[in-house]
């Protein structure tokens, strides 16, 4: 069965590649927004299979990568407190702050726990009434409804010892930010499949119309990505700029209404700082006033945070599609997943880490050959 599936996928992939080759007549720059898409593209070498006219650049959709350093330091300061149980998704634990990572905080006696779901933290809070349980709420719109439900339930149950340290970001403002940048090169986007499973795609329609960029909401498997690329290339060649939905098996125009309602009930839209990029206005969520007693930023006023990013790091330009990981002099030498200097190397979904993990620092490949 496995063999048949792979065989079928390979035939579809070849057909899509043929169709992309037939459609393209001139150079186009397409950005895949989501880090999961980047991971898939680099793992399967899809960029090498495309005709030379098409350049894929990698977007800012890696939440672990774009969580700002001062927020990481804030998390570490809270996690070090003896009265706190600090809970997080596993991929945040290796992210280095100004001094060490959460694993080191744990080794030094901090009570740091990896959870599968934010809902697990409610049980931890119930079982440990003498401790303050803090969950590090990072992520895009895909994760926001889960974190919103956790804090909503905590309030409903009167769990006063549960709080969220919120560093939530949203995709559409980051796309707008990239398009408004004076040296922008991106001409079309593969939209984030699971973000749109929650949010639908209505927010993307004014962006496509205003900036005249095609956007194809796209899944994560090789065949999805090739189909998304074909949809955007067709639009580019025909001079259209619309939102199309490649990922129809998971995404509807309005998304999940109950999830959007929960986000709106718990969060307000706020300015957020993105690691490697800087502050983007109205680009994320913060807890609204009704949930102030569950806001770790208010409960633990961490002060005196000063951070500095290494000057050599070009992750900001990588996140905006201006440069590739291999353009960086530190890539694969000073900067590796074990010793990351910047945003795009800290998570496996970051473009630099994906390039490194699949050996792109070791070989030079003739693209499109």
């Amino acid at each position: 069965m496995k063999y048949l599936d792979e065989y079928r996928d390979q035939i579809i992939a070849e057909k899509l590649l043929d169709e992309i080759r037939r459609t393209v007549t001139r150079p186009w720059v397409i950005m895949e927004v989501c880090g999961g898409q980047t991971h898939s593209i680099v793992k399967y070498g899809l960029d090498y299979l495309l005709p030379p006219e098409i350049e894929l650049v990698h977007g800012p959709g890696c939440p672990v990568c774009v969580t700002p350093l001062d927020m990481i330091d804030r998390a570490h300061a809270i996690a070090r407190r003896p009265d706190v149980i600090f809970c997080s998704f596993g991929d945040m634990l290796r992210v280095p702050g100004s001094s060490g990572d959460l694993f080191q905080v744990r080794a030094a006696g901090g009570n740091v726990r990896i959870v599968y779901s934010p809902m697990d933290c409610l049980k931890i809070a119930q079982n440990n009434p003498d401790k303050k349980v803090v969950f590090f709420a990072i992520g895009f719109e895909t994760t926001a409804p889960a974190n919103a439900m956790a804090v909503f339930q905590a309030k409903a149950l009167g769990l006063k010892n549960f709080s969220l340290l919120v560093s939530h970001v949203m995709v559409p403002p980051s796309i707008t930010g990239i398009l408004q940048s004076p040296n922008n090169r991106v001409q079309a986007f593969l939209g984030p499949g699971h973000v749109c499973a929650i949010m639908g795609w209505t927010e993307y329609e004014p962006i496509a119309a205003r900036y005249k960029v095609p956007i194809a909401i796209t899944g994560f498997e090789p065949v999805d990505l090739l189909e998304g690329i074909l949809l955007t290339v067709r639009q580019l060649e025909q001079g259209r700029a619309e939102v199309e939905n490649q990922y129809a098996r998971a995404v509807t125009r309005d998304g999940l209404v109950a999830a959007r309602r929960m986000i709106a009930q718990v969060f307000d839209i706020a300015d957020r700082s993105w690691r490697g990029i800087g502050i983007i206005p109205k680009s994320g969520y913060k807890l609204n006033y009704a949930f102030r007693d569950h806001d770790a930023d208010r409960i633990f006023q961490v002060e005196n945070i000063r951070t500095r990013e290494p000057e050599i790091c070009i992750s900001g330009q990588v996140l905006r599609g201006l440069k590739k990981p291999v353009d960086c002099p530190a890539f694969g030498t000073q900067c590796t997943p074990q010793t990351p200097l910047g945003a795009t190397m800290v998570s496996a979904e970051g473009a630099c880490a994906a390039y490194y993990n699949y050996g792109r620092h070791l070989v030079t490949v003739q693209v499109g050959a």
């Binding site: 672990v64 959870v115 895909t142 889960a146 409903a156 499949g193 699971h194 973000v195 098996r249």
Partner: protein, 94 residues
């Protein structure tokens, strides 16, 4: 981070007013909240992200996606030995 893993709903329950389920991911069973997919039924396949169902899928698609995520090494959300398991609180007896 935004990836979702397909699994089969094998049990429904309610936890303090929230609609929850047990979802089987190729042999590993985890809790998933169904509040956002209100029409999910027993035996349905759903895509689960951080313990929340975010869309329904059909069985064949679920199998293909699962195999693909395994190939990518992206099943750590459910099977990582680093995840701290939380003691179940016994259901309240009225």
């Amino acid at each position: 981070m935004c990836l979702a893993i397909p699994g089969k709903i094998v049990e429904f329950h309610e936890n303090q007013g929230v609609r929850m389920s047990k979802v089987d991911f190729g042999g590993i069973t985890r809790e998933a909240c169904l509040e956002y997919i209100p029409d999910a039924k027993l035996g349905d396949y759903v895509m689960v992200h951080v313990g929340f169902a975010i869309s329904k899928v059909d069985e064949e698609e679920a199998a293909r996606t699962y195999q693909y995520l395994a190939e990518l090494g992206q099943l750590t959300d459910i099977n990582s030995p680093d995840i701290d398991t939380v003691e179940e609180t016994p259901d309240e007896v009225p």
